[in-house]
């Protein structure tokens, strides 16, 4: 009975998703605003983050077994953090979100978040002191300057656990990991104050790119499974920060998509599980999972900006991330629970129908930030076919016709099956084979790009 109550409490944030999603079309046209008791504003950008937070906090209830020894404490911490963070997302006051993040840092007992909040507060107080006409975000564009941007970017990087901040060890905390994408919100909000200078964008791209590469590398070669999960999540967040820094519509859409599917990916990854189920496979960027769409969007965003080396780095990170998930799965049981099937179905549905979700949920949020974005990377959506990234000359630089390819794949699989049956090729039934264990440590000594960094652990 206690377990059921715990599970219901943990699933409470999922109700929030069902309350928020019907508002998508409403706030896409005109944001919901209230001026009493405080100026409140619920727009498409806030909605994406609110849905993402609710999904990250509530989906573990679907996953089933509460793994931690202090599960009551975890559930209550998670709910308390949401109660603090969700209202702060919609309050227009400059200090509301940092204060909520500070309270969350206290709830989570995270010195990293605490430090990030102090830097963010310093940036916003400087903004108020140097040019903002009031304490409200809408009146603050005039005071936005390089030192303030630098402080907000630093806070984002520390909060997101970016490289090199990630080298400073902090005790693993799954709840902190789940809520981490919220740190992108202050940075993305700065687009409403006007375009970034190219130097600022370059700084964000460099830090994000380094984080992506470092996290993917560490995820593949580290010997600790908990750390591996954290590094995989770090790769996703690194991609989100980099694409946010590209300052293009497709880049921002990629960052927001990464934020949107982060909670689902993390639940599939099961960072706190003692023994993972096979559903974790779909946290890898395997087609047509949501993580695959996220990685493709990041590659497309980089390509649309003309940064093909960055796109190649993202491709390598995608592969490394996939291999890291396979490494996580080595030696686990081959069981599939009903919750695994449900979460996998969600991931596949999100990945397949990403063009529709992008148009419905993400594009309105990108349009909100349009004033600060450059046209060097646009998103072209064919709702029932797929999605493409376009460069400044409207030329296709990356194409993912996810729905069309899925339909053709179904036809092709049926044809192959029919042919194999007719010719008597197919084995009638497959014996369940245990997965082979790859000698990763031996492998590392023979791979030239891994051997060179071996001492860093």
């Amino acid at each position: 009975m206690i377990k059921v109550v715990q599970r219901l409490l943990q699933a409470l944030p999922l109700v929030g998703i069902f309350l928020l999603l019907p508002l998508v079309t409403t706030v896409a046209d005109i944001p919901l605003t209230r001026s009493w008791p405080l100026p409140l504003r619920l727009d498409s950008l806030t909605l994406v983050f609110a849905v993402s937070l609710c999904a990250a906090a509530g989906l573990p209830a679907v996953q089933g077994a509460l793994q931690s020894d202090h599960s009551w404490r975890n559930v209550l911490q998670s709910l308390a953090a949401l109660v603090v963070l969700l209202p702060a997302l919609v309050v227009e006051h400059l200090i509301a979100l940092p204060l909520a993040l500070l309270l969350t840092a206290i709830i989570l007992r995270s010195w990293r978040w605490g430090a990030a909040v102090l830097v963010l507060l310093a940036g916003l107080l400087l903004l108020r002191a140097t040019g903002a006409r009031s304490w409200y975000a809408i009146d603050s564009a005039r005071g936005f300057s390089p030192p303030i941007f630098l402080l907000i970017l630093t806070a984002t990087c520390v909060g997101l656990d970016c490289y090199p901040a990630s080298l400073a060890n902090e005790r693993s905390n799954v709840l902190r990991l789940r809520l981490q994408p919220v740190w992108l919100l202050p940075l993305l909000r700065t687009y409403t104050w006007g375009p970034w200078s190219s130097g600022w964008a370059l700084a964000a791209v460099l830090i994000g790119g380094a984080t992506t590469l470092w996290s993917a590398y560490a995820a593949l070669w580290t010997g600790n499974d908990t750390k591996r999960s954290e590094h995989i999540a770090g790769t996703w967040l690194g991609m989100a920060l980099t694409t946010a820094g590209l300052a293009t519509p497709v880049g921002t859409a990629s960052a927001l998509w990464q934020v949107g599917v982060y909670g689902l990916g993390l639940v599939l990854l099961q960072p706190d599980a003692h023994e993972r189920s096979r559903g974790a496979l779909w946290a890898a960027p395997f087609p047509p999972a949501a993580a695959f769409s996220a990685c493709w969007l990041a590659q497309g965003a980089a390509a649309a900006s003309g940064a093909f080396i960055l796109a190649a780095i993202f491709w390598l990170a995608t592969l490394a991330c996939g291999l890291a998930v396979l490494r996580l799965l080595e030696g686990t049981s081959s069981r599939w629970s009903a919750s695994d099937l449900l979460l996998t179905a969600c991931s596949i549905a999100l990945g397949l129908f990403s063009p529709i979700v992008l148009r419905w949920l993400i594009v309105p949020a990108v349009e909100l930030l349009q004033g600060g974005l450059t046209p060097f990377g646009l998103l072209d959506i064919w709702p029932w076919v797929g999605v493409a990234a376009l460069d400044a000359g409207q030329r296709r630089v990356a194409v993912l016709p996810s729905i069309a390819v899925a339909l053709l794949a179904l036809v092709m699989a049926a044809l192959a099956w029919l042919l194999a049956r007719l010719l008597g090729w197919m084995r009638p039934s497959e014996a369940v084979e245990p997965q082979k264990v790859m000698p990763w440590d031996e492998l590392r000594k023979q791979v030239w790009w891994a051997r060179g960094f071996r001492r860093r652990g």
Binding site: F308, A312, R395, M426, R427
Partner: protein, 252 residues
């Protein structure tokens, strides 16, 4: 929705006739003859349902490659092609297990940086990841990318010194075919004026050296492996230099 159904109705021949379906099967037979594998013969182990799913995926990729006279309007980009070929193959490797699993895995992991840079060079030269756009490019970066890609292929496909001693198998032959045809698709001007004969010649001239290397090079590939980091560095410098020049021209 109508667009989706019309797409399927108009392009079924891609799956059944060309470049997938019958053409792909002919490609497998030809590659099998060249590499002395017996991918389609009845003596080889029969594929499991999982293997068949993988085979269908790679057949689909071959069918959707923008080869001459295909007319497929939504060609995938290079990065997606490579991800779809490589990531499922790792699943296959771990699931099936090879006698020399680590050898194949090492060769693949060693080749990926060069492959990624080759892809970046091709895309930088053309300004796009889409193969149709890459086909129009003829600059230095384009050909450097094609050469680097070709250099990365033997270890990636476990040919010659990197062969694992595994029994020839339909699924692995299909992956090899997908990689070789992808390289052909990049190197050819794949618009509708290009004849089928050009495609056949390009495929043969790509597959023949790989087959010769596979059949007759029995030594070890350590020197090749030792050159990979240097090639990566050279290609990275070339991309950086030429991209810098492009940027300067744009700024002027």
């Amino acid at each position: 929705m109508d667009e989706l159904l019309a797409l399927l109705g108009r392009h079924w021949r891609l799956l059944v006739l060309y470049p997938g379906g019958l053409t792909a099967l002919a490609g497998i037979v030809l590659l099998g003859l060249l590499l002395r594998s017996r991918a389609l013969s009845s003596t080889v182990e029969r594929p499991s349902p999982f293997d068949l799913l993988l085979a269908a995926l790679w057949l689909l990729l071959i069918a959707l490659l923008p080869l001459p006279r295909t007319g497929w309007p939504y060609a995938l980009d290079l990065a997606t092609y490579l991800t779809l070929i490589e990531l499922p193959f790792w699943l296959y490797l771990l699931r099936r297990g090879l006698a020399r699993l680590d050898r194949q895995a090492t060769a693949m992991l060693n080749s990926y940086p060069l492959l990624a840079l080759a892809m970046a060079a091709l895309a930088q030269g053309a300004g796009s990841f889409v193969v149709h756009e890459i086909n129009r490019s003829i600059g230095l970066l384009h050909w450097a990318g094609v050469v680097a890609w070709a250099i990365a292929l033997p270890p990636l496909l476990a040919l010659g010194p990197w062969q694992t001693g595994e029994q020839p198998y339909l699924v692995t032959t299909l992956r090899r075919l997908a990689h070789i045809v992808l390289l052909v698709a990049i190197a050819l001007p794949a618009h509708d004026d290009t004849s089928y004969l050009a495609l056949a010649i390009a495929f043969t001239t790509t597959a023949l050296p790989l087959a010769a290397l596979h059949r007759w090079w029995r030594g070890d590939g350590s020197r090749w492996d030792a050159w990979l980091p240097r090639l990566v560095a050279i290609l990275a410098l070339l991309i950086a230099f030429l991209s810098g020049q492009q940027l300067l021209v744009r700024l002027r």
